[in-house]
Symmetry: C2
Subunit: 132 residues, 2 copies
């Protein structure tokens, strides 16, 4: 198991079927991550929700719509949407979007970050390898 | 608290100081997410690690280097690196990178996805709002 993988240029995100799951490739334990391409006029295959996971969608390029329970939210480059546990959701790329929708989906659950808390350690003394 | 926020076009990621934390803006509980820009020749201010969180770095554009304990990994568009809990790490954008490094950092901890398991529910019957 490596801790590094490649998803390619934005224009290649998701490969042939439009979805690449990254987390298994890098041995991630706690975060589920996919990179995705939805072509203009395309949509996800069905509504879905997660009982315990939140899902966060980061739109990097393209224009679309996000269905979140009874809301419909516009998507443009830079829109970020959270689907809370239990929220039914789906998305599409607008038929007249000039470019495909390129998006990241992050999934996590379990223990709130507020509980995990400030677990960071800094080493402000150690020189970077490129500074040697 | 909204469940939607904006990070703008790739060229605007991170705003004035190069780092935008998204999770608080959208009420995320389990995933910590930031979008970032590091200019050519720039670097993070210090090495750091997390005791319990894993961190996953997704490089969307630019060329750089990632220091992961004693390794130095090349970064190019599409490189994804996981820093496991306890791993000291840092990154920089190469001085001769044609464009700034644009990257997403995802942080999560607590309960392994393998335990949270298959918590998804599909609704394959419900029509999409844009199909009405």
């Amino acid at each position: 198991m490596s801790n590094v993988t490649q998803i390619g240029q934005l224009s290649a995100w998701g490969g042939e079927n439009g979805k690449q799951f990254i987390h298994r490739e890098i041995g991630a334990e706690f975060a589920g991550i996919s990179v995705n391409t939805t072509e203009p006029g395309g949509e996800v295959p069905f509504w879905h929700s997660h009982e315990r996971c939140e899902e966060i969608y980061i739109i990097v390029d393209g224009r679309g719509e996000f269905a979140l329970d009874d809301e419909v939210l516009p998507l443009e480059p830079g829109t970020v949407v959270r689907a809370a546990p239990g929220a039914m959701h789906a998305l599409r790329c607008l038929p007249d979007s000039a470019v495909p929708l390129r998006w990241v989906c992050v999934r996590a659950a379990g223990e709130a970050l507020a509980e995990v808390g400030r677990d960071g350690t800094r080493d402000e003394e150690r020189p970077f390898p490129w500074s040697a």
